[in-house]
């Protein structure tokens, strides 16, 4: 069949149909109109109820799910964490303290304290979620998210060229605890000379730096959850400081046995505390667990 045939065929359609097509367009029946009206009205009512429900739900607010929100904060801003971990990638140090307020005006504030550790290619991010709204919800929820970060190379020893440690280079005290010659570090742990890593040596020295320079460090001890520095003061008194950290805050146990924040006591700059925390984490990646176990926090 050709197209012309079809055109002619349509042209030859019955007169009745041609006349019908020329007539008025069929109008909708009354019953159909009523049904359509009912349907549309019903649909509109349902839509209005659903919308109202959503609005009510939104206005009343919803407590954040602890794990989800904490994870979301990290997930929403992974660049932040990565940026922090990339500050000194060659050093392999990744400890961060991130405090930020999310969703301004929503009534919720998410204070994120994040710290990362350089366990072989992995970082642990701890986020604390708090609410400023007076509603029923957990006051503080902590969750841990583990994410992959590039594994960093072994940090070169920076004892002699780090400006912070530079004044410590020639620091001497009775017995001497650090010997960094021949590429190894040793220290005296409870009276016994033991090998230690450069990072451990750095950390110990940085702790000592916050003690009075004239004080004598008698001993250093590791107990798996931190370390102690026993000092003998010029007045003959002595004290054993115990250092440990949690969530980016560095603590120590004072002479009288009370736990104090290092920054509060020594007026230590934040960056230095942060740096120390990084070092501290290297000494013992399980410091948080130790702290929680020992002090119930």
């Amino acid at each position: 069949m050709k197209k012309d045939d079809l055109i002619k065929g349509i042209g030859a359609v019955d007169d009745e149909l041609i006349a019908e097509a020329a007539g008025r367009e069929p109008k909708m029946k009354y019953k159909t109109k009523v049904r359509l009206f009912c349907f549309l009205t019903g649909a509109a009512a349902v839509a209005a109820m659903v919308a109202t429900g959503f609005l009510l739900k939104a206005s009343l607010g919803k407590p954040p799910k602890s794990d989800d929100k904490a994870a979301a904060i990290v997930t929403e801003d992974p660049g932040r964490v990565e940026a922090e971990t990339a500050t000194s990638p060659e050093e392999g140090t990744t400890a961060n303290i991130i405090t930020e307020t999310a969703r301004a005006g929503s009534g919720y504030e998410y204070a994120t304290l994040a710290e990362t550790t350089t366990k072989k290619g992995a970082a642990t991010v701890t986020a604390a979620v708090t609410s400023t709204k007076n509603i029923t919800m957990p006051e503080t929820t902590v969750s841990t998210v583990t994410t992959d970060v590039p594994q960093t190379e072994e940090r070169p020893f920076t004892f002699s060229n780090n400006e912070f440690f530079a004044p410590m280079k020639d620091f001497q005290w009775e017995g001497g605890i650090v010997n960094v010659q021949f590429g190894t570090a040793v220290l005296r742990d409870r009276g016994v000379w033991v090998n230690c890593s450069y990072e451990q040596a750095d950390s110990i020295l940085s702790m000592i730096h916050f003690l009075k320079p004239t004080d004598i460090v008698e001993d250093i001890g590791f107990d798996g959850g931190g370390f102690t520095v026993k000092t003998i003061y010029s007045d003959g008194s002595s004290c054993e400081y115990e250092f440990f950290g949690e969530l980016g805050i560095y603590y120590f146990k004072d002479k009288d046995g009370t736990v104090k924040r290092l920054a509060d006591t020594f007026g230590v700059e934040f960056d230095i505390v942060k740096y120390l925390q990084e070092e501290f984490i290297k000494i013992d990646p399980y410091i948080t667990a130790f702290f929680e176990e020992k002090y119930g926090q």
């Binding site: 069949m1 349509i10 042209g11 149909l17 041609i18 006349a19 097509a21």
Partner: protein, 183 residues
């Protein structure tokens, strides 16, 4: 005046038959002509030729559906005028409508086989009678009266897209129907 009365006037050879036809069907005829010619003066000429053709055809014929009878003559004259002027390509709506019909042509092996127009008209009419009234009206308004899709959408209270979809489905169904009929 009712159609049978107008036809009677033709049979009586009364010149009032033309006047009554013009009063009642001029609008419809001009609509058809304008859809094809897109030119008022050409359409007017076609209209006059149509009245003359109707005057000559009645008697001896007594059409059952007078508007269809008149429109058919008007349509044929307008299409012939298009062909005569070789101006089909300047009538985009007609061309679009006719192009759409390509989809209805059955995929017969004997593409040269000629079909009798009357027989084909009967088959297509049969197909259209199986369709809902609104659907067949839209189909014929498009391919017989050459109404544009936007005009159809407006007339039938549908979206233009719905009209396109409806016509698309009907073309496919017509193709199947024609193939079933052995064409």
């Amino acid at each position: 005046m009712e159609d049978p009365d107008i036809i009677d006037l033709y049979w009586e050879r009364s010149e009032n038959a033309i006047a009554e036809t013009d009063a009642k069907y001029k609008g419809l005829c001009m609509h058809v002509a304008n859809n094809i010619l897109h030119n008022d003066s050409d359409a007017e000429e076609c209209l006059n030729d149509t009245y003359l053709a109707v005057w000559n055809a009645i008697p001896s014929k007594r059409p059952r559906y007078l508007p269809a009878f008149i429109c058919r003559i008007m349509r044929n004259l307008a299409l012939k005028r298009c062909e005569h002027d070789n101006a089909m390509k300047r009538r985009p709506e007609v061309m679009l409508s006719l192009d759409e019909l390509d989809e209805c042509i059955p995929s017969s092996e004997d593409v040269e086989a000629a079909c009798d127009a009357e027989e084909l008209g009967r088959i297509i009419s049969s197909f259209l009678r199986q369709q809902p009234k609104r659907n067949r009206m839209i189909f014929l308004r498009r391919y017989w009266y050459f109404d544009s899709q936007s005009k159809l959408a407006e007339s039938f209270g549908m979206s233009e897209n719905a009209v396109k979809q409806l016509l698309f489905r009907m073309r496919g169904q017509l193709k199947e129907y024609l193939e079933k009929e052995g064409l």
